[in-house]
Symmetry: C2
């Protein structure tokens, strides 16, 4: 299981200010805190600065990796920003994201290949996001085939199963869960992920819903979590469900987390 810390994201106001003013102390503190809390990888995003992303994304990569010895998930659909950021990255980066939309696929995959990165692949195409799991799994199969023929191995593909709010349609939670099951069955060796907090949009007690959803995602076999590792309840829920679903031999990681005081909830 891979935990990707989501906090260094320009859609968060305080982070946007820090990126805009190149406040490296702020950004580096956020990096260290997330790794200390258990993140295996950190997301970096400067997406709201459309005109300055080519300058700011490489700065983020450099500053974060100065203090955090983990690989980064470089979160941009902009090939120029990626081309500027990836040469500064140490280790194997994860590029977020492509889809089966031709423009997006064709501009990003060559960059992914050039720098030997992994890639997040959204289960959608030109027609948008299929309503049910079967449609998303079918897109995942076509994406996997295309990526393999373009030289990207299964182990480097992270399918985003695309979580939408259950307040809009009550079937959106189960659609994401069944997409995970379908991809695990049809495309073994690839990975699955999602932005899980979308699920609770528009409802009260969002952290309760997000924590419960995290547990069900673990049980359905999702292996890559883009979450806030500073939220102790969501981390505790993920650790607990890993053990409950047979993914933590002898409950070793669960007991280690307990002993180091990380199972507060």
């Amino acid at each position: 299981m891979l935990i990707i810390g989501e906090k260094i994201n320009s859609s968060i106001k305080s982070v946007a200010t820090a990126i805009e003013t190149k406040d490296e102390d702020f950004v580096q503190k956020l990096a260290i805190e997330q790794v200390t809390a258990g993140a295996d990888m950190l997301d970096v995003n400067a997406g709201i600065f459309v005109d300055r992303e080519v300058e700011l994304l490489p700065w983020l990569v450099k500053k974060v990796q100065e203090v955090a010895d983990v690989p980064l998930c470089i979160d941009s659909p902009n090939p120029e920003a990626l081309k500027a950021a990836l040469p500064l990255h140490r280790g194997k980066a994860l590029v977020n994201s492509i889809s089966l939309e031709a423009g997006r696929y064709n501009s990003i995959v060559p960059v992914v290949k050039e720098f030997g990165a992994s890639v997040v692949a959204l289960c959608m195409d030109e027609h948008g996001i299929p309503h049910n799991a079967d449609g998303r799994v079918e897109i995942a199969c076509r994406l996997a085939e295309k990526l393999r023929s373009d030289g990207v191995s299964y182990d480097d593909i992270y399918f985003d199963v695309l979580v939408q709010p259950i307040s809009v349609d009550i079937t959106f939670g189960i659609a994401a869960l069944e997409t995970i099951r379908g991809i695990r069955k049809c495309l073994p060796g690839t990975h699955t992920t999602c932005g899980l907090s979308n699920v609770s949009f528009g409802l009260p007690e969002r952290k309760l819903l997000n924590s419960a959803f995290a547990a069900t995602l673990v049980a359905y076999g999702m292996d890559t979590f883009i979450i806030d590792p500073l939220d102790p309840r969501i981390m505790a829920m993920v650790m607990a469900t890993r053990a409950l679903s047979g993914q933590d031999e002898f409950c070793e990681d669960y007991l280690k987390a307990f002993r180091s005081g990380k199972l507060k909830w």
Copy 2:
């Protein structure tokens, strides 16, 4: 989904004392509290009083139903105690439990039939509990066939998928979950349940594990929960996961629980 309140059980010391001394105030308070917290049914158990169960179990049924307008899960393997208790019960009782063990099956099923009760059927036989899900589903199929030929309809069968501690064997959690999936697939129309807190025996932060397991059980389709409805976190987790897994149209019950202050966790 059916929530069965588990607290009127003689294995809890304070409850045993109340049953032994026929402290009806204590027992009735526990009944009212559980129904107020959301229990649809209440478990009653006087099992530790082996020599007095025939006297105490009917007393429990009478006293609980005097104040709680819900059916009861009558928890005893003793046909004499059941024969004494069931005539006093109003509504459709659930008898807990039988298994494929011949002695147990043959002594209890006629009583279940006589009083038109439902029955909890443990997924085990003379050889004990199968280690994996396939073995348990196979027993469930044989039990369903036998019960049907003895005149018990599918809707009256509640399979206990048998939860054992993950501290003993890390595969015990997934065995229970996959048994639920198997029974839903092979025996539609029947119900599934379990004593979920066994899963965390021997580990720290048991309530965390129990809550996370409750979420995964809901997502795998278990429909009958024998739990402590006075534990707000486990109830919140069950309500949240019902909505997340598409079982709560328009999130109606979730929002109702929120508005009445029941989503505290």
